[in-house]
């Protein structure tokens, strides 16, 4: 019963979009095939494919180099390499652009050396570069975790059977980590098609921006494009599922984690490749992690110094900093708690009872993640305007939280399932035989045992919520400012120092969350 309600809620935004398009005034087919629709679609697909491919290569290479070779400072790099995850892509893009523009650190340094670097990073190249740099951790993390859990015996056997390290990688390791690479690339693909901020800053018009731009004056087109984006995302997810499943069937025996040992994997001596490998890792980290931070810090410092020296004061008072910070944190926590509470019954259904209903509900919830946040928010905003019994919700906080939960709930599903699985059925049986009724069992046995897993899921949702831009822009109640929307607003108004200061606060919070959740917990650090 609860599960059906959850499924209905998660299906609402997608369903409403489809219904609007089909029941719209203009013929949906004509809308979908017009060149004004097709060209942003083409740009979106182009960018998403490019970014997924480059992130897959970069993420896999970094994972392999940091876990399987004698790279100097492996342990340090393993901590640092996934960290660009903390940058929302629009913050990263803003940092790059502002660093290269007059007044930015790169531009001014180059000018001191006599170069004029008023080059603008923009278009496909700019969007591709920035998105690759900030999404490769989505590939790196699962691949590194998989590499760490891979039984070392496979590689040892291949070496003993006469393969050189490179051959071992292509014949033994790659087939084993293939599914992780695919899963990571899928996330990158979904991230890219639903990205709004970075592509906007790079003046590369993809579907999300067309949807955003046309939502007020050409609503039918906006919805048609939203449906297109939704279908694109779902098709890619379905394709990935099919391929992975076929692959899993083929390699079922080899992908079992049964023989994971504590032993260290064989390390490949880099030899004369040591310098290029170190250069690659350091270069990526420098570009994706260090340089945006420096650029932002430079702008922030510049603004602060300027106001101290009696120049133009910062257009930022304490309230402009504290209110959005507070809003960001509490809406993140609220969303996380609600998402976990909503997803927990689904996790119970799928892991404990393995019911068909549970599987269906699970699919709906997971599909929610594939729907771009922009589409979810757009759909919900217009739905509340037109659904008469619900119109009191227009522009209210519940709509925003609802949009977040639908979009990010899927991130909590996996951890919630793991959490439910972490309570052995025998533990419950033991409690029952000791006389504990249902409520006492839930309170004293199940919840305490599930807590770490649920907290991890909630943390992931919170992290994503804090970084989300387009859904927040669209569905926020009027006057509700979060760090993400404030960074966006100040950048659009070209108050770069103010933007930098707010962005640094957002980064600090999300870095703290990332450290707690991703880096400290993940087993790839072993």
């Amino acid at each position: 019963m609860v599960a059906v309600l959850v499924a209905a809620a998660f299906a609402l935004p997608g369903g409403y979009v489809a219904w609007r398009v089909i029941g719209g005034t203009e013929s949906p087919l004509a809308l979908l095939t017009s060149p004004r629709t097709l060209s942003p679609l083409w740009r979106t697909v182009q960018l998403a494919v490019l970014v997924s491919a480059s992130a897959a290569v970069l993420g896999t290479a970094l994972a392999w180099v940091t876990t399987r070779t004698d790279l100097i400072g492996r342990r340090f790099w393993r901590v640092v390499v996934p960290l660009p995850l903390v940058y929302p892509s629009f913050v990263g893009a803003a940092a790059f652009i502002s660093g290269l523009s007059p007044g930015g650190i790169v531009h001014d340094l180059a000018a001191d050396l006599g170069f004029d670097l008023t080059m603008r990073l923009h278009g496909l190249t700019g969007a591709w570069l920035v998105l690759t740099l900030f999404t490769y951790p989505y590939v790196y993390l699962p691949v590194a975790a998989r590499l760490a859990s891979l039984p070392t015996a496979f590689e040892e056997n291949a070496r003993l059977l006469g393969d050189r390290p490179a051959r071992v990688f292509s014949r033994v390791v790659l087939p084993q980590i293939g599914s992780s690479v695919a899963a990571g690339s899928l996330l990158v693909f979904l991230y890219t098609v639903s990205d709004f901020g970075a592509v906007h800053l790079m003046r590369f018009e993809t579907l999300t921006q067309t949807i955003f731009r046309t939502r007020l004056f050409d609503r039918d087109r906006s919805f048609a494009l939203a449906l297109l984006l939704l279908v694109l995302a779902l098709v890619v997810v379905a394709a990935e599922r099919t391929i992975t499943r076929a692959g899993a069937r083929r390699g079922a025996l080899l992908t079992s984690d049964a023989t994971v040992g504590d032993r260290r994997a064989l390390t490949v001596p880099l030899g004369r490749w040591a310098a290029p490998a170190t250069g690659l890792v350091a270069g990526v980290v420098g570009l994706a992690l260090v340089s945006p931070a420096i650029s932002l810090a430079d702008w922030g410092l510049f603004g602060w110094m300027r106001s101290r020296r009696g120049g133009a004061p910062l257009r930022l008072d304490w309230d402009d900093v504290l209110a959005p910070t507070w809003n960001t944190v509490w809406i993140g926590v609220t969303t996380a708690v609600i998402a976990v509470a909503v997803v927990l019954p689904v996790a119970y259904l799928t892991t404990r009872h393995r019911s068909r209903l549970g599987g269906a509900v699970n699919a709906v919830v997971v599909a929610g993640f594939a729907i771009p946040g922009l589409v979810v928010a757009l759909s919900l905003v217009f739905w509340t305007m037109h659904a008469s019994p619900f119109d009191f919700l227009i522009g209210s906080m519940p709509v925003l939280v609802f949009a977040y939960v639908v979009h990010f709930g899927a991130q909590a599903v996996r951890t919630a399932q793991v959490a439910v699985d972490a309570v052995p059925a025998r533990m419950e049986d033991a409690a029952r035989l000791l006389g504990a009724g249902r409520l006492r069992r839930l309170a004293t046995v199940e919840l305490p045992l599930m807590l770490p897993g649920l907290a991890a899921g909630a943390g992931l949702v919170m992290l994503s919520t804090m970084k989300e831009l387009p859904a927040t822009l669209l569905a926020s109640p009027i006057g509700f400012r979060t760090l993400a929307t404030q960074v966006w607003g100040t950048y659009e108004a070209l108050f770069l120092p103010e933007m930098a200061i707010l962005a640094l606060i957002l980064l600090a919070i999300s870095a703290l969350m990332t450290w707690l959740l991703v880096v400290r917990r993940s087993d790839h650090l072993r």
Binding site: D429, A430, L434
Partner: protein
């Protein structure tokens, strides 16, 4: 040693006050259990007297764990009755949920709550008013773990964990104690030690106990009586000696121990077999399933055969176990028999040996 001065036996020798009043008799009648498809348990009946220890023995998948879980109420029966003392726990009309049955159970891996300390684990089944009484300490003292109340289960050894699980099950004075392969997760050396300590304790306490095992030795060592299950039915219930010496059929005979089955044409008096004359047991009167007269297989245990100089057969294989040895002898007719000899094995592969039956009389079993 994991536990030195505070061993369980040491505690018992100090005469811990042992309440005996809680043991109840358990009676199971015509029990059938099915999930989806064919029944897992078929018309199973078993009576366990108050204070008795009964082993459920069988190969994996025979339904012994299902039987235990049905007694506990963790599975529901299709038909049949489970009674504990005067109470009906479950029959075709009524079903008392496990939390109201007053049954103690120890799971294979202990299933201790990892987030609670040892004291809280033991107190879990006690009524709120008794949690702070001396019952927790008392029970932990019983199992020889006094003073470990504040430890986390994860910091205990496997043997200690099992004993905490036992203390947790015993603390609320259950009417019957169920053990689900409680020693199988322990190392061999530890297993024997923990087993005999718990054996002694349960005898002292006089707790009605039903335990599941797939290990024939464990069933014989611990069980006052053993119920052998095969494919969802009880094949035989009896004392360990009954099962070993007087099994009802060939399956039980071979499942509970090493067996030579020697075919004879007419099972009566003294028969001529491949190892010479073998007397047919005379005390088989009234035993179902045995064949008197006509073709049958005689059950000859390896220790009933003596090897000496002679030429009945050739030694094919010698397996040395320390306390004894098993010798496989290839006979003239191409069949083989196993003979158990003392630890001082005089034979080697290839030796010619004589084989003589020295047992008290062989049980004839239907082919």
């Amino acid at each position: 040693m994991i536990y030195n001065s505070r061993t369980l036996l040491g505690m018992l020798n100090k005469r811990v006050v042992v309440p005996r009043a809680t043991a109840e008799n358990l009676s199971i009648e015509g029990l059938s259990v099915a999930y989806d498809g064919p029944p897992v348990l078929h018309d199973v009946s078993l009576d366990v007297a108050a204070g008795e220890m009964v082993a459920l023995l069988g190969p994996s998948g025979c339904g012994k764990t299902t039987l235990l879980r049905t007694i506990a109420g963790l599975e529901r029966q299709m038909a049949g009755t489970v009674r504990l003392g005067e109470r009906t726990l479950g029959d075709s009309y009524s079903f008392i949920p496990p939390e109201k049955r007053r049954i103690g159970m120890v799971f294979q891996d202990g299933a201790l709550f990892p987030h609670l300390d040892v004291g809280q684990n033991v107190a879990y089944g006690l009524p709120r008013s008794e949690r702070r009484s001396g019952r927790v300490t008392e029970t932990l003292d019983l199992v020889g773990l006094g003073g470990l109340e504040d430890r986390r289960p994860g910091s205990l050894s496997g043997g200690q964990q099992q004993r905490v699980a036992l203390a947790r099950a015993l603390a609320p004075h259950p009417g019957v104690l169920l053990l689900d392969e409680p020693f199988s997760s322990l190392d061999t050396s530890l297993r024997v030690q923990v087993r005999s300590e718990i054996h002694h304790l349960l005898l002292e306490l006089g707790v009605t106990t039903v335990f599941v095992t797939h290990d024939q030795e464990e069933a014989f060592v611990l069980g006052d009586r053993v119920a052998v299950l095969n494919e969802g039915r009880i094949a035989q219930v009896g004392s360990p000696d009954d099962l070993y010496r007087r099994p009802v059929d060939q399956w039980v005979a071979t499942f509970v121990g090493d067996a030579n089955l020697l075919p004879v044409a007419d099972a009566s008096g003294t028969c001529d077999t491949a190892v010479g004359p073998v007397a047919v047991a005379s005390d088989t009167d009234g035993m179902v399933g045995r064949v008197i007269g006509g073709p049958a297989d005689l059950l000859v245990r390896p220790e009933d055969l003596r090897l000496d100089e002679g030429s009945t057969g050739t030694v094919e294989l010698v397996e040395y176990y320390g306390h004894d040895a098993m010798v496989r002898v290839l006979l003239g007719d191409g069949s083989t028999v196993h003979a158990r000899t003392g630890a001082d094995v005089r034979w080697q592969r290839g030796d010619r040996v004589g084989v003589t039956y020295v047992g008290p009389g062989a049980v004839p079993l239907g082919v």
